[in-house]
């Protein structure tokens, strides 16, 4: 019984230490919430191909 309790405490301690390490040294939360969009000048639009879905 005592051994099981000791293992449980040890497991919880390991989990706490791992969580603390990840919290402190891990990534800083959510990825960027903005950006990735680039304004397009109409002159840089590529000439389009044929309609690829057209039934022949």
């Amino acid at each position: 019984m005592f051994t099981m309790f000791r293992r449980a405490v040890f497991g919880a301690a390991i989990a706490a230490v791992t969580a603390a390490i990840l919290r402190i040294f891990g990534g800083d939360g959510a990825p960027p919430q903005r950006g990735g969009w680039r304004e397009v000048d109409p002159s840089e639009l590529n000439p389009v191909k044929h309609n690829p879905t057209k039934q022949t």
Partner: protein, 369 residues
Amino acid sequence: MRIAIFGAGLVGQRTATALVARGFDNVALISQTRETAPSDGVAMGQGWPHPAAQDADIVVLATESAHQPAMAIQLMKSGTHVVTTADNPDDVQRLWALDDTATEAGAALVIGAAYSPGLSTLLASYLVRTLDTVDTISTAQFGTGGPACAHEHHRAMGSTAHEVHEGVLRTSRGGSGRELVWFPDPVASADCYRAGLADPFLLHQAFPTVRRIESRQAATRRDRLTSRLPMLRPPHAEGLVGAVWAEVRGHVDGRAEHRAMAATAPQATGAAAMVAAFCCELAGQVSGEEGQSQIRSGAQSAASNENPVSLLQLVSDDVRLWAYDGSQIVNASGETEPIHAARKWRSPGENVAIPLFSHCLITRIGSFT
């Protein structure tokens, strides 16, 4: 080139202004009530039918969506080219059914020349034509224009939605299928839902072999909750922020690819830009090379247009176009830098502490067991 615009709401007024700005010098705006012109160079008129419609080469219908099919039939009988701004899916389908009437009369019938459908389907059409094969087309819209547009947004959220699934047009519940869509700033992210929109129908007509086509509109929880009730308060005069987003998924050179574009502008301005772009194109076709008319008669839409680049260039006078490349982000100092999922992946050497700790921990645990 004589152009008559029926309906002097926000879209009608903006269209008149946009056409004058593009050099059309014979523009008439016909309304039931309005008497003052939105800009110089626009003649005003009242009532329907109106002599200006009989004399016009092109008639723009910016009236209530439900009135447009009947008006279009009457106009096309005399061979007048008609540009419609209807956004209600039932009215759009009724207009599309007039294809034979338009073809017989030798008239062009442009359907859904608005913001969504219109700009949204134009972006999708452009993206589709940049791929070799296409599996999925998705569009989304944010915001509303004038009061009529706000009423349509409300109706759409509470009515049956249309989408293409496995290549077949089917219905589903409006307000379902929440998806977080990323629009360009200032809109950024917004929850979008299925709604009674005309985009899937028009895209399906243009790209019948695409297996999945879906369209959503941005809405708040309150919009969803109250969508099946009458509007609880009168709509605002104009929504000042609007955006449409289109994404296609398919293959290029055997490689899976997805591409997204967006457009931002107040909805009424964007719709007017779309109408003006179609008018410019029709005017060019009517004049033709060496004075020969090259008009393509019958029903057509922004999605079915064979030259979306030309239309995009025309609308870009009033609308900002965006491409999503996902490769860069504008930082606080205004410079662009690579975008990544999270900071810890920014540079390999930055988080050397984690593997070091992990190694020590594993070694320590190993010594216990």
